[in-house]
């Protein structure tokens, strides 16, 4: 049973990290970017590439992956979000970020291949057991990222700018805040968070091009459970979903895994639409 719990928490950490990526992009643009799971996938693929193929030491491979994640985040903001937000109030970002995600997936499939590939072992340790790094790296990474994000948003000027833009974009513009630059920074940070946790979880997920959509969906479910905009909500939602998935598989088998997680989403949205940690917004009349 311990292995089921640990496996569920590790899986939950992955979902939490994607929910955090959603939160970051939503904060400054009110966009739930479909690319969230793809930044994670890119972290695994590029990490494997930099270390296994380019031959970089793990620490340099990690830094290169982070840098690539930031560049990807900026590209998503500039190509798929900024222009769409500038030209329409409709939810066209859903289509533009979906299209961008498909392009990312196809590029990875064509250049990296469609079969899963290994992610290198980052620390010397024998395989197997409950202390295996493949479980603890993603769990540690997401906890660290969540703590740092909270500090960043609450204690730094740039973090406070994120919050200001999130709370009232028009007021932020009126106060001279460079909203476009703040939004670009939040997407770069989101790209780094996704690629960091993708790197940390690479031994569990393998470096695999097809992870993106699955993680985008499950990250969204985690976000809906925890509540949009809340770091604690993203963590709790992801962990709950991961544990529920693990227990559902343990007791009922893999055939019911997805039905149970999406069923949970429907029940929660009916009972508490704002999620566990979300705040019900007042409607202007």
């Amino acid at each position: 049973m311990l292995s089921v719990i640990l496996s569920g928490i590790a899986l939950g950490a992955i979902y939490s990290s994607v929910a955090l990526v959603y939160n970051l992009t939503y904060a400054t643009s009110r966009v739930l970017s479909i690319t969230a799971g793809f930044t994670f996938m890119i972290g695994g693929v590029l990490g494997a590439y930099f270390i296994d193929i380019a031959g970089l030491p793990p620490i340099l491979g990690f830094l290169a992956t982070l840098a690539a994640g930031a560049v990807l985040g900026l590209a998503i903001e500039f190509i798929a979000v900024r222009r769409v937000l500038g030209r329409s109030d409709q939810h066209l970002w859903l289509l533009s970020t979906l299209a961008f995600s498909t392009i990312i997936q196809q590029i990875v499939a064509l250049t990296w291949g469609t079969e899963p590939r290994r992610f290198p072992r980052l620390f010397k340790q024998d395989f197997g057991g409950l202390l295996d790094q493949k479980y603890w790296l993603p769990i540690g990474a997401v906890l660290l990222v969540a703590a740092m994000l909270e500090l960043f948003l609450r204690r730094t000027i740039i973090g406070k700018l994120f919050v200001a833009v999130s709370d009232d974009t028009q007021a932020a513009i009126a106060r001279g805040i460079p909203v476009n630059a703040v939004r670009a920074a939040s997407y770069a940070l989101a790209g780094m968070v996704g690629s960091l946790t993708g790197f940390a979880a690479g031994q569990l997920t393998f470096a695999y091009f097809a992870l993106g959509f699955m993680l985008t969906l499950n990250g969204f479910i985690a976000l809906a459970i925890g509540g949009l905009g809340s770091t604690a909500g993203a963590l709790t939602g992801g962990m709950l979903l991961g544990l529920l998935t693990a227990f559902a598989t343990h007791f009922f088998g893999g055939a019911f895994q997805n039905s149970i997680s999406t069923g949970l989403l429907i029940i929660l949205l009916l009972a508490r639409p704002q999620g566990l940690f979300g705040v019900r917004g007042a409607r202007m009349v």
Binding site: S3, V4, S7, A10, L11, I14, Q106, A109, L110, G113, T114, E115, P116, R117, R118, F127, G128, G129, D132, Y135, L204, T205, F206, Y208, A210, L211, M214, A246, T249, H250, G253, G254, A255, Q257, N258
Partner: protein
Amino acid sequence: MKDIDRKGLTITRRAVTAAALAMPFVPGKGRAASAEPVKIGWLPSLTGPLATAAIGFDHGVRFGVEETNKAGGIDGRPIELVSRDTGSDPTNAVNLAQQLVFTGKVNFVAGPVNSGESLATVPIIARAGIPNLVTGAVEELINPVKYPLAFRVVNTTTQWISVANDYGIKQLGKKKIAIVGDTTGYGTSSAKLAVDMVKAMGADVVYMVLIDPNKTDLTDEISKARDSGAEALMVWTAASGLAARLLNTRGDLGWNVPIIGHPVLGAPSIQQLLNKPSYWDNTITIGYQSMSFGPDGKLPERTQKLIDAIRPQLGGGPIQFNFWWIALGYDIIQVINYAVRTAKSTDPAEIKKVLNRKKDFPGVFAQYTWTETNHNGVPDSSMAANLANSFKDGCYKLAPR
């Protein structure tokens, strides 16, 4: 990958043009009055999650077309290959199959290369009255009454499972079996079929589980299989990630029971996903006699000949993926060549007559036989149990008997 595909397309177009230009100079040999091409619609999934095998098939098909056209075509008629990438998506496959048979006016359709897409396209191609060479393994794809023009050129799922059961239960003497499938349509139906077939052989299915192919951790499932007292694991999934995780978990738990099952267990892509090379030991993958090294260390003559001929086009080094994919693709063109030459036309009714009575067609992948009541071309004698970790040049060593 893209370069290879593009290159393949260019070669084929050049070959068709060259063959057409050369027609007036091809001596006699019963050339048809007009050099109207034999149009073959080809539906590989060159992109998407099922691309790896399809790219292998594609190499074989294109090589077969090139070779046939260089030799003057089929009775003077060049082959025109109309290839459409399904993207591993059954919906795309349906649209493309309709395009090929209704507007493309192809004479034959080959593929799609996997069962999921084939289940969607076989009825459409049958309704259009076009001969279809089927490369999917699930049983439902072939029915000489419903789909009289569909002829299978690959084994069936039942044949794969029979060989696995025969090896695990009869050869190794294992009587308590755990069966693992994935949650795809293929994995689910194969696992259920495997349960029935294992029981029919007098063994016990002590544990059966379906697993999401992307599930990241299998400790729970493999621990349950071990606790159930299983003496062997039979695995029915085409997902290399899942297969590798099964092998890794068995190894990490130090549970050394044999794993027997789907050919993906021996795929070279598995090797780099393993925690330790030794985790591939005691693993039996189901394969083919034609792709197995004999006791003398040699491959069957026809297989070796095709390997030698196609190797330069694959880069000249060792072949890095399952050679049976290439051999089967190559055989598709040879079967069409034979059928058109014998029927002296591409008329579907005549093609059906020819294939319905073809016995022991000497392909590279198998010796095919079709009859009016059985359109499954690959005989049981073509199947083999291989050592998964013996991959070399696209082929395997036979498992010890």
